[in-house]
Symmetry: C2
Subunit: 200 residues, 2 copies
């Protein structure tokens, strides 16, 4: 019997992965606020699994920095205080600088055009003062830039930190100056990418 095109893939993902992703989303989206306690009994009921995979998810999210483990006292959503946010943004800046450099060298024209397209879509939202939409495309551009650097380790590292600051970044970009500065910065990056100017 040949299932030619695998009619039902039945790729069952491990429960602990599912749990990790679900929890990460809840935290990054802010539905689990910083400092909130992660009650095992409650979450097992909500996610429909047992404590073992849930607790494994806690450990993973803790090493990602999204969760803080208090021995014998459970887990809480880690705080993203201003100091840590600033530190994270500094590191991300360094990573983006490297990414830009590598992307200039390694990205295909199609990829650069893709970023350019996203950039203009973002500008549209910016013009409309639509913060949420602007933010979404802003995120996408940064991520794509890092992705197209061709350095997978860089991408993963950046991606992880990005998830970590995403909760707070929304606010960091709220002030009008930062907002406009970010747009100008994007213009510059785009120009440099187009010209393949490694040093920007």
């Amino acid at each position: 019997m040949d299932d030619s095109q695998e009619p039902t893939p039945i790729i069952r993902r491990p429960l602990h992965e599912e749990a990790t992703d679900r929890l990460r989303d809840l935290i990054v989206q802010g539905r689990l606020a910083a400092g909130a306690r992660l009650n095992e009994r409650l979450l097992t009921a909500q996610l429909g699994l047992s404590r073992t995979p849930l607790r494994e998810a806690f450990k993973v999210l803790a090493t990602e920095g999204l969760v803080e483990l208090l021995p014998n006292r459970g887990a809480i959503v880690s705080q993203m205080d201003p100091i840590r946010l600033g530190e994270s943004l500094a590191v991300m800046g360094a990573l983006e600088a490297l990414a830009g450099e590598l992307a200039c060298r390694n990205a295909t024209d199609a990829q650069i055009n893709e970023i350019r397209a996203l950039h203009y879509e973002m500008l549209a939202y910016h013009a409309r003062n639509d913060l949420a939409g602007y933010f979404k495309f802003n995120q996408a551009i940064h991520l794509k830039l890092v992705k197209y650097s061709g350095n997978a380790v860089l991408y993963n590292t950046y991606r992880q930190m990005n998830g970590n600051v995403r909760r707070a970044r929304y606010m960091a970009n709220l002030s009008k100056e930062r907002w406009d500065a970010a747009v100008r910065e994007h213009d510059e990056i785009l120009a440099a990418l187009g010209a393949r100017d490694v040093k920007r």
Copy 2:
């Protein structure tokens, strides 16, 4: 009853942390070779704990990139192929650049002197052609530099990547040119730190 100076702190660390650290050391030190299968029964016996904390350690090391989880088929020590090594070193380079910049600004004179001392100790080993000793101090200097940048996020990120490449770096530094180049680079960093020249 007042135990004044806490005679025996009895700070029992969680078993899963202990397991994570022990395993990480085994991997970083190369006692568990890349590609080696991590048998749960065997390791629980060796570490004297049950499968639950061990499996939690697996998940943590997997997110750190030291271990690869094969669903239903166990965990293996992740391969550090040349491509990934190169990518990691590129990222670490970017992080060190940021660290150097920040350390110039933020490190105390005492901290800079501490690094300088380590540097000379390292030179001693270099002069004796003692690769292991040289390597040890080389590592220490890089780590201290990043630590004294004052950016905790940067330090943690770097530290994690460092553990990840440590297995392979020994070899990367083996060739005589790289070896000498690394020493010269250190000299430069030291000089820049001493002069507090942010741009190096």
